[in-house]
């Protein structure tokens, strides 16, 4: 037992594998227990997690803002839709190529981003989020214009049984993608790359005096998070069986950033909270809105209003997000135990 513990303490790789196995078991159990609708929600939360985890590394560990990750998700989604729908590729290679393509798109964007700071980076990535989907309209024959592209639903393999529900299979696919992201990012954060990111975030000049290349470090973070966003978009296309411009509005990029900050900036656990919020909050606000009997004009806008209020109150009451709040609470508990 102590041997296992010391291995886990010393090796980031072993720790990340342990977390991945634990998470995989938990996901399989949960997806087995819940209804088909909840499985679909689980799948949604899992592909959000992939994008949020990448973005939280970028924004929290490397200190760069991006308002353009929705567009990178669109790159992944359209690649998968083109490869599966038009070329008849299998699922896994199509998703792998989608990640590769979004990494390729992320390279020039990341190189540009590493020259920009704060609001200038926000402005450039905002223009990216608005500009890129315009391509889908410009080449309607390739990208299907406003209607987008549809693909056939993924078929669960036969060894899982004939009546294995499609929704659970989708949750598993999204879960596999999310676990890959978890594994990669956990190791990046714990490795030298992660330390360079934090060094550059905290003090660029000190970091470059230590021999770190500030631009290259920031580009690396951007490219990694672009790959995660591409994977997330690819999973979205598989789960929704659709890639269309309407699925990647500017609001998607903004809500990704919101999820990252609400969950707790820079932490992978925070990304889990953020993904849960992005998935569940729209349902909750809808339920609350419809539990009152209000005129349609009011009730139609009620979910939006509640969402806005949640954002404002959360930012004033818990400036460091859910994960930061939990840490503070547990820290206080531990402190009182220590003194007792």
């Amino acid at each position: 037992m102590t041997a296992v513990r010391s291995v886990l303490q010393r090796s980031t790789l072993a720790r990340s594998l342990a977390w991945v196995v634990l998470a995989a078991v938990a996901l399989i159990l949960v997806s087995d227990l819940v209804s088909a609708y909840n499985d679909l929600q689980l799948a949604t939360g899992l592909y959000y997690f992939a994008a949020l985890a990448g973005l939280t590394v970028l924004a929290g560990q490397s200190g760069q803002i991006s308002l353009g990750h929705g567009a990178l998700m669109a790159v992944g989604a359209y690649t998968v839709a083109l490869l599966i729908g038009n070329e008849g590729w299998a699922l896994v290679p199509a998703i792998a190529v989608a990640v590769a393509v979004s990494v390729l798109v992320g390279i020039p964007v990341g190189a540009a981003a590493s020259r920009l700071r704060g609001p200038y980076l926000a402005g450039a990535t905002l223009a990216f989020a608005v500009g890129l989907p315009a391509l889908a309209d410009k080449f309607p024959s390739l990208f299907g214009g406003e209607n987008g592209l549809t693909i056939n639903p993924p078929v669960p393999p036969s060894w899982l049984g004939a009546d294995f529900p499609l929704e659970r299979w989708e949750a598993w696919i999204a879960g596999a993608g999310a676990l890959v992201v978890l594994f990669v990012l956990y190791n990046i954060i714990g490795s030298g790359v992660g330390r360079s990111l934090r060094a550059v975030r905290d003090d660029e000049i000190a970091a470059s005096l230590c021999g770190l290349s500030v631009g290259r470090t920031q580009s690396t973070a951007f490219i990694v998070s672009a790959g995660c966003a591409g994977l997330s978009g690819a999973l979205l296309a598989v789960v929704l069986q659709l890639a269309q411009p309407g699925a990647f509005p500017l609001q998607l990029s903004l809500s990704l950033l919101t999820g990252v900050v609400l969950g707790g900036l820079g932490s992978l656990v925070g990304a889990i909270w953020g993904a849960a919020l992005l998935t569940l909050l729209p349902n909750w606000t809808n339920d609350i809105a419809h539990s009152f009997s209000l005129s349609t004009k009011v009730s139609a806008n009620m979910p939006l209003a509640i969402y806005g209020i949640v954002l404002i109150v959360a930012m004033i009451a818990w400036p460091s997000g859910i994960q930061g709040g939990l840490r503070a609470v547990f820290g206080r508990l531990r402190a009182t135990q220590g003194s007792a």
């Binding site: 919101t258 900036l265 400036p319």
Partner: protein, 292 residues
């Protein structure tokens, strides 16, 4: 040639509106180092108020003045109630907070006035000028828009350069601690900055509403263009905001006229990235120093 002139003129008129929004963003950025994503929603609310006044009283100018006054109060209120608690928090928190405010205001407008866009009266005629038998795409109302925005820009420049209030605002923005030691009421200067910004925003809303119609989401594209214009010009520079706005308006007007309107968002991206690669702090950035 007529087409070129038309495109230039309509670009100038669009650009003047972008410039007004950019001015609002720049004023807030200078005061509190926050990009106010709620600006589009704030000017939407003041424009709805103007619309309500105009419809009930029948006087355009009454609505116009009330919108600006509402902007002044609204901007100050938002700064005091919502922004002050997060001024010391990490910068992303303020961004998320303004996004939350944007969402809340859009929803509130939908609850009160409904989601169907409605028309908004222009200040002056929308019939183009006749020049030598051809009708230009430039209208008396466009002239009004351009003149008003230029007047506001000059007024703001005079305020910052020539008045004690402007000096205090610049001091509070440039070195808050030193300014506080010298007796400047820094927090109040921040509130004034937000209030002035909201007036510039309210003005942009009333000016552009006749051409985009008035609905909860009508002004989102204007805010995005205004933000791009502000970044183009350099977020610290009010003249940069005006020049950034005008050049973006004219540039996008050419793209839309000669290459098709579907390319406009892409063109905005290309222009912005090209400028930022050459000057990462915008066209009018002061010499960029980074604190050690």
């Amino acid at each position: 040639v007529t087409k070129f002139i038309d495109l230039t003129l309509s670009g100038i008129s669009d650009g003047a509106v972008y410039a007004a929004v950019a001015l609002a963003l720049v004023l807030i950025w200078r005061a509190t180092r926050i990009v106010n994503f709620a600006q589009g929603a704030m000017l939407m609310i003041t424009t709805f108020i103007a619309s309500a006044i105009i419809n009930s009283s029948g006087h355009y100018w009454l609505g116009f003045v009330v919108a600006l006054a509402a902007g002044l109060v609204f901007g100050a209120l938002v700064e005091r109630v919502l922004i002050r608690p997060v001024e010391s928090a990490p910068p992303l928190n303020a961004v998320i907070l303004t996004l939350g405010l944007y969402t809340l205001l859009v929803a509130a407008a939908g609850m009160i006035w409904g989601n169907t866009p409605r028309s908004f009266p222009p200040a002056f005629s929308l019939r183009g000028y006749d020049v030598g038998g051809t009708r230009l795409l430039f209208t008396p109302n466009d002239t009004f828009i351009v003149l008003v925005v230029i007047a506001v820009a000059i007024g703001l420049a005079a305020l910052f350069r020539l008045t004690p209030l402007g000096l205090q605002m610049r001091a509070a923005a440039f070195a808050p601690e030193v300014a506080r030691l010298l007796g400047v009421r820094v927090a109040r200067m921040f509130t004034v900055g937000w209030a002035l910004a909201a007036v510039a925003g309210a003005l942009a809303g009333v000016l552009v509403a006749p051409s985009v119609f008035l609905g909860p989401n009508s002004f989102d594209p204007i805010l995005i263009s205004g933000f791009v214009a502000a970044v183009l010009g350099g977020l610290d520079s009010p003249p940069g905001a005006v020049i950034g706005g005008l050049s973006l308006g004219v540039g996008l007007s050419y793209v839309s006229g000669y290459a098709g309107s579907s390319l406009v968002p892409l063109a905005a991206l290309v222009i912005l990235v090209a400028v930022l690669m050459l000057r990462p702090g915008g066209l009018f950035a002061a010499s960029s120093e980074r604190r050690v």
